[in-house]
Structure formats: structure tokens, C-alpha cells
Amino acid sequence: MSTPVLEVSGLAFAYPDGHQALFGVDLHVHPGERVALLGPNGAGKTTLVLHLNGILGLDDANAAGSVRVSGLPVERANLAEVRRRVGVVFQDPDDQLFMGTVRADVAFGPANLGVKGAALDRRVEHALEQVGMAEFADRPPHHLSFGQRRRVAVATVLAMEPEILVLDEPSSNLDPASRRELADVLRSLDVTVLMVTHDLPYALELCPRAVVLSQGQVVADDATIEILTDDSLMAAHRLELPWGFDPRTAAALGAGTRPLGGARG
């Protein structure tokens, strides 16, 4: 098989206060895959995400194992390149969007990479078009709706042309229409995606494969539909489907492979 975009092996980590969050995580994500990372609260999902671009785990004292991004080890010396390759979209767009205008915010990442002038303008414009927010370039982010801010947050990362997009709870706090619009955007992107979520129908809709993280360990890695229909696995790791949702019916509708619908920017 090809070089995995993301290769996590034996990753263990304890916070400075002694709380251990990860106990030997192994995870491979290959180019073009869309993978859901599922798990109950406190399973270590966010901790894992912060290791993927080297925000945590650079000090050897309380970490073990390794993370490689397209073969490049996540180390202090490679940090800039790792952060270009791994685009993390955080849960609260107000944390991610801090500049005065949407344009400046989207330009922030590529400008940090040294992109300048017309090339930078093109990147910003393209990233905003990908999420359907091009006409809002000159607005201050705090004047946008929550769903729009979430899409701009995705654009801020797309502008860095990452190899893998890591989304932390992308559907949280979105109304159903915004949730669907974001799904359209994500489906239309030609990029590898790792999506951390509690929203199991969303995972089924967007990600053919799912990984379950529980108490700092990977306990399942399979087709999303197999995981959602494994009742004993689901119950053992506090995963629950919304009332009335039957993954078999949804999968039969072709949710996982639905063609692009109205995803034009």
C-alpha cells in the first residue's frame, strides 16, 4: 500500500499533572480516505489530535511512540512542515478566527509559510471558494453566522494546502441546514480527512471507515457501518445512535457514497 498520510504507532501520553490520556495508540490513514474518529468524552480524542501536528508530545519525558505524516516524523525540527501537512480545524470557530477580516484570517496560515503577493491572494480566494464563502472575504469574522464561521475555519486550513484535514467535532452547534452545507463542502474536497465526532449519523454519511478510541486505546477500526451495527461494541464504549436512527436503512440509502450534491462554492 502507499505511504500512509498519517502513521501513529504506539503513541502514549500523560499530561504533566500525571493524568494519562493515551495508552499506545496505533492508527494509519491512507491518502484519499475519510476516517471518523469516534469515542466517548474523555477517550483522548482531542489529545490525539494535538499530537498529530506536534502541539503535544514533543517532550520525551511524558510521551512515547511516534507520529509520522507522509513519512515525516513529527519532531521539533520538522514542525513547520508538519503543520503545513496537517490542517487542524478546532471545535470553536471563535478560537480559530482571530483576525479582523475573513481574508486576513485565511491568509494567516499560508503567510506563515512564506507565501506572498498574488500567489497568496489566489490561495485565499481558492480556499474561500471551496467552502462557498468567497463573497464574505472582507467581513469581520464575528459578523458571520456560526455555520459560516465554521466554514471559514475550514478555509483557513485549506489555504495551507494540507495533506490531511483534521476536524474536531465539525457538526457541533450547527443547525441542520449548516450541517448539510458543511457535509457538501467536505465531500467536495479532494483531501484526506480525519473527523473527530460524536455525531454518528454524520460519521456514517461522510466517512466509509471509523476508528473507535476508548480510554486512550484504539478498540475498533472497521467500516463505519460495521461499527455502528455492532451493538455490544457500541454499548461497551458509550456510543449511542440518536433515537430512531437505523444505520442499516441509512446505509441502504447510500449515505456513505452519496454523490456530490449542490456542493459548488
Partner: protein
């Protein structure tokens, strides 16, 4: 909700004052305020001249006077202090409407009041005619240190977020039957502000993490805030 929030001081209009370059307006304001402050309080005619200059500027800007006056209430604490001055200051006593007040105190109060009011109105006029972003750009052009401009930019960006948070906490408090009527309830308010401080602090850390994740290395690249060469026509075309 939300659409007009960041612009509580800005008054949308098209006037020569609105389109003037922001750094020129900042310089003019600072120079004029220094002039007003330096004017001795007993040159009553000079303040008349200052007032006329300000009135002309307001006229040109087409910002309604009432709009500025309403926002001038921020001056109230100073007004209270100014009103107290004639009573608490020492010096030669004079009679005003049958009340003996301090002469130098009265003059000082007049000076404080008139200089303060002119300064506040002029500052409000600047805020009403300049978008916050342009103001920051103006400060940048005037070579104000990057760090200071950045701190102000963050303040403008997160002011609404924090006010909304405070608002939600107030609604949640009141929904549980709490109203802050007298000082006995102040400890509750103090805890609210404490919680808000901690939340904002944590948000600051999260923002910093998100910045690091996009390759931040200690300074915001100036390229990011530069206006694109072609975008202006494009934006105006697509807005309407």
C-alpha cells in the same frame, strides 16, 4: 442578531470625513486635543473657537449631533468630579446663586468640563467616521508598535465574544431568580467576573493553540493583513 454589533460607535455615511485617510484623522485628533488641553481655562473665547471647529467637523461628517451626545455619557464620572470641585477646592470664596464656592475650584471645574467634553466628542467623531479596521491600519501606518496594534486588534475581535458570554451568564443568573439590587449581591457579581476572566484566559490559550497549528512563530505576517490588489473591484461588484 450580530450584524451591527462590532460597530456600536461607527456611523455609516459617505462624507469627506469618512473617506479621509485614517492616519490623517488620528493625527488631526491628537493635535487638536493637545491644543484644547493646552488652552488656559480662563481664555473663554478660545473655547468658543474650538467648539466652532468641532461643530464644523461634525457638520461635514453628517453624523447627527444626538448620536454623538448619547455616546458621550461615558464622560459622566468626570462630570461628577468636575461638579464637586467648586465645593471641595480651597481658595477665595465667591457667591454663585447664594452658595459660597471656591473661585479657583470653579475655574478648574469649568476647564475640566469643557476640555473633557470637547475631547470626548472629537474622539467619538473619529470613531463614528472610521471603521475599527481602518483605525488599526492608520495606527500601523503611524508606526505604532506592532504588539500594541495586535493587542487592540484582538480586543476588537473578541469584545463581542466576551460581551455575549457575559450577557448569557447574566440571563442564566436571572433565570434562576437573581437580580443585583444592592451590595449584598456583589459577591455573586464578583464571581461572575472571575469566571469570565478564567474563561477568557482559557480562550486565549485555545486561540494561541489554533495559531500555532497554522504555523504561527511569534509575529503576525504583514502579508496576511495586506489588501489584495484586485480584490476591491471584485468585492464591490459581488456585494450587491
Amino acid at each position: 442578531m450580530g450584524a451591527d454589533h462590532g460597530h456600536r460607535l461607527h456611523f455609516h455615511a459617505h462624507s469627506p470625513l469618512h473617506s479621509a485617510p485614517s492616519h490623517a484623522k488620528i493625527l488631526a485628533l491628537v493635535a487638536w486635543v493637545l491644543l484644547v488641553v493646552a488652552t488656559p481655562a480662563h481664555w473663554f473665547w478660545a473655547f468658543g473657537v474650538h467648539a466652532v471647529v468641532l461643530a464644523l467637523a461634525i457638520g461635514v461628517s453628517r453624523v447627527p449631533v444626538t448620536y454623538l451626545l448619547k455616546r458621550a455619557v461615558v464622560e459622566t464620572p468626570f462630570v461628577v468630579f468636575a461638579v464637586l470641585l467648586p465645593f471641595i477646592a480651597t481658595g477665595e470664596r465667591i457667591d454663585v446663586l447664594g452658595v459660597a464656592v471656591s473661585g479657583p475650584g470653579l475655574l478648574a471645574a469649568w476647564g475640566l468640563l469643557v476640555k473633557g467634553t470637547l475631547g470626548v466628542l472629537a474622539s467619538l467623531l473619529l470613531a463614528a467616521t472610521t471603521e475599527p479596521q481602518d483605525l488599526l491600519l492608520g495606527l500601523q501606518r503611524l508606526r505604532v508598535p506592532q504588539q500594541l496594534v495586535q493587542i487592540m486588534a484582538f480586543m476588537i475581535r473578541y469584545l463581542d465574544v466576551v460581551t455575549d458570554e457575559l450577557q448569557r451568564m447574566r440571563v442564566a443568573r436571572e433565570s434562576r431568580g437573581f437580580t443585583a439590587r444592592d451590595p449584598r449581591q456583589w459577591p455573586v457579581l464578583a464571581r461572575t467576573f472571575g469566571a469570565l476572566f478564567i474563561r477568557s484566559y482559557e480562550r486565549g490559550e485555545r486561540v494561541h493553540l489554533a495559531m500555532l497549528a497554522r504555523g504561527y512563530t511569534g509575529s503576525i505576517p504583514t502579508e496576511a493583513t495586506r489588501r489584495p490588489v484586485t480584490a476591491h473591484a471584485h468585492i464591490h461588484g459581488s456585494r450587491r
